[in-house]
């Protein structure tokens, strides 16, 4: 993973929430009437696939829930809902993240990308999507959105990985159909056409 990107993510977080802290002089960033002082405000604005969406998010809600059940972005799959399969992988500020295992509130100052955001406006597939089609990477397809997002994250950090690096990059994504080698073929092709 690219350290500058992680750093940028937390700097943005600090800038966004820190601004509230300095204007009020305390940590009470948003003081909801029925909530204890300082607890988070439910209505948030969050950048998803380049669009700023306004959404009502419960404090304990995961990003996967918000995407699927609040915003209708069902391309992000839930397999295990416990951080054990990778089906829910999305990018937050270019860093691959399990959407089932992160609070929406924890990433609200970041840039979230899901599989729905990859296709260009004119319908051109992202190089990873195109390469996965050409290499017949998926079988049943359930793990595919997660594999795609993990591959996009890997190639942003390392545009021409060795096959071994690609294997490591996709190692957090289980495929019950066992299509691992075809996915790796896809990543290697995407690196060429990307």
């Amino acid at each position: 993973m690219n350290l500058n990107l992680t750093r940028r993510r937390f700097i943005k977080g600090v800038i966004a929430s820190g601004a509230a802290a300095t204007t009020t002089g305390v940590w009470v960033a948003a003081n909801g009437a029925s909530r204890p002082a300082g607890a988070v405000e439910r209505m948030i604005r969050i950048n998803i696939n380049g669009q700023v969406r306004t959404v009502d998010v419960a404090p304990q809600e995961t990003l996967a829930s918000t995407l699927r059940y609040k915003l209708g972005l069902t391309g992000t799959k839930l397999g295990c809902n416990r951080g054990e399969c990778g089906a829910c992988t999305v990018l937050v500020d270019d860093v691959s993240t399990y959407a089932c295992s992160v609070l929406t509130h924890s990433v609200k100052n970041g840039r979230v990308e899901t599989v729905e955001g990859l296709e260009a406006a004119d319908g051109t597939l992202h190089p990873v999507q195109q390469a996965f089609v050409e290499e017949l990477s998926p079988q049943c397809g359930y793990c595919t959105p997660g594999q795609i997002m993990a591959a996009v994250g890997l190639l942003r950090e390392n545009p021409s990985p060795t096959r071994e690096e690609a294997r490591m990059g996709l190692s957090g994504n289980i495929c019950r159909c066992g299509s691992y080698d075809s996915y790796l073929d896809g990543v290697m092709r995407a690196a060429q056409i990307g």
């Binding site: 992680t6 305390v26 809902n81 416990r82 490591m168 957090g172």
Partner: protein, 329 residues
Amino acid sequence: MPSYDVMPNMELYQPVRVEDALDIASRYADRGWLVGGGQDTYGWLKDRAKSADALIDLSAIDELRGVRETAEGIEIGALTTLTEIAESALLKQSYSVLSDAAAVVASPQIRNIGTLGGNVSQDVRCWYYRRGLSCYRAGGNLCYADTPQGMNREHSLFETSRCVAAGASDTAPALVALDATMVLRSVDGERTLSAEEYFVGPAVDIENTTALRDGEILTAVRLPKAWANAEFYFEKVADRNVWDFSLVNVAAAFKVSGGNISESRVVCGAVQATPRRLTAIENAIQGKAKGAVTAQSVAGMASEGARALAHNGFKIPLMENLVKRAISA
């Protein structure tokens, strides 16, 4: 037991200053739940095996992140992610036993979010306990893992006391090998503990894996200059290379002069609730040549005192072999 999709309703705080986090943590005490990356937290809450009134998300606190050089060595903010630790040039250069350990935790996505503070403060991985059974560790009066039918392949060889669960953290043994100092803060001020004191076993506190008290936050981990650029070894053995916890791991640091070991710290993880320092081995290899001959002569001592459960006897030769490899390397 039903499987729940979502967590129950709770408050969430996202302080940006450590003082504010300490205020909130002190206010909620045992009903507040600190969150670094949440990778060990959300499963407990989704499963209703544990609960909290409020989550205190520490991830926006700038001063708790990053790896920096100090006059005494290196200080790592507790909220630094495992990926940042695995890729830190400073750590790879001078304290590679820690970056190597961080690099094999869980999966890439979990390392991207999971923090050092969360990794060393995580709870044990015993499925009876995680499923919400009221065993000793959960305040009950039975250990389900240590019964004739109990599944205990992953459990402890040493220092059991009613609970036989093994420690899960891969970075914890590395911190003990480096003789790290843990910095703890509360509204009452700061205290420091050695890594060895930070981790506690069931004989001391059966319900907690660390010496953290309610309202306390681990703010930083300090690595002493004394162990910078020593010869290091880390190896983890697990069923799968990704996600799975260590069956046994070894973290070792050796100071070598003229081919001989002048000082060492050899630590095994996942063989008891806390990282196990093998002081008998450290003493036996002092002054000896670092290599296969010395390794062979002491490896059997690694498991002295082990008490195998029904299904974890394989950990004994595994531990001996890992220690042998650490000294041979």
